[in-house]
């Protein structure tokens, strides 16, 4: 396997972890919205979602930048790379705050908003990564 193969595989694997985190957050946010005894069980998934977010977020950024620097056809200043970096920053901020809010067990309305921002930013990132507009 070439270095490009390794970088791409690990970058995509990290992206799976990030999306997996958003999926695991989904029942947690829904449960937090409902409250009550059922919410307590689902809230126990929060640490897993947070760790997936940490690994996926860090992995996609580090390996993605490495790929952009390593591959001749890509440049860090390409429009699609810059837009991906902005989307990543939005997703990272919202995702980390979402985990903190859910772990703290307060403000379900804020968790809903942070979840929506995280999910939308991650979906937009996937669109940018696949379509590479302007590349």
């Amino acid at each position: 396997m070439s270095r490009y193969d390794w970088l791409l595989f690990l970058h995509v694997l990290a992206a799976f972890a990030a999306v997996g985190s958003v999926v695991v957050f989904t029942p947690v946010v829904l449960a937090a919205r409902r409250g009550g005894g059922a919410a307590a069980g689902a809230l126990r998934l929060t640490p897993l979602a947070r760790r997936l977010w940490d690994v996926g977020g860090a992995g996609t950024l580090v390996l993605g930048v490495w790929l952009a620097v390593d591959v001749d056809q890509y440049d860090l200043l390409d429009g699609w790379v810059l837009s991906a970096l902005v989307l990543w920053a939005v997703a990272a901020f919202a995702g980390v705050r979402l985990g903190q809010v859910l772990q703290g067990g307060d403000d379900a309305a804020r968790a809903n908003l942070l979840y929506a921002v995280t999910a939308a930013a991650v979906a937009a990132l996937l669109v940018v990564m696949i379509f590479k507009p302007g590349a």
């Binding site: 799976f16 985190s21 999926v23 069980g41 998934l45």
Partner: protein, 148 residues
């Protein structure tokens, strides 16, 4: 280097395939985590695990597989390529295992609703889903590196 030079017509089918795959893996992670945690929690997480597989993993599997067929038809990829063989193998076996794991999770939930303990069924279901996640990890490797 296929990802760098692929045709525009492949992009949307690839988006469907990748999005479906990512959501499928995410639902499986949620399901297995809920199954494991349900040992000390009871019915709530067992219900979550069963519903995640039934209403999350099975539909996203269909999206993933449909997207894969669409990409393959647009790319005109050869049937005998190793990476396509790995993808189909993991996908076909994965569907069978997903159905078995979902049925076992459903039986575990029914047992819990009747006041029983999860027993071995939940453990077997969790083991099957973990095996599926390992398989999908191999499939991700094959799809990204495309070994001949």
């Amino acid at each position: 280097m296929l990802a760098i030079v692929r045709a525009d017509s492949v992009n949307f089918p690839l988006f469907v395939h990748v999005a479906g795959s990512m959501l499928l893996v995410g639902t499986l992670i949620a399901a297995v985590a809920a199954l494991v945690l349900a040992r000390s929690d009871g019915g709530g997480l067992q219900r979550l695990s069963f519903r995640t597989m039934l209403w999350g993993a099975i539909p996203t599997f269909i999206v993933m597989r449909g997207g894969a067929e669409w990409v393959k038809s647009e790319e005109h990829a050869p049937d005998d390529a190793t990476w396509i063989g790995i993808g189909y193998g993991v996908s076909d076996l994965g569907l069978l295992l997903l159905i078995v794991a979902t049925v076992l999770a459903g039986l575990t939930l029914r047992r819990a609703n009747r006041g029983g303990r999860p027993g071995a069924l939940a453990g077997v279901s969790a083991a099957i889903v973990s095996l599926m996640l390992l398989g999908y990890g191999i499939a991700i490797w094959a799809m990204t590196t495309k070994p001949d």
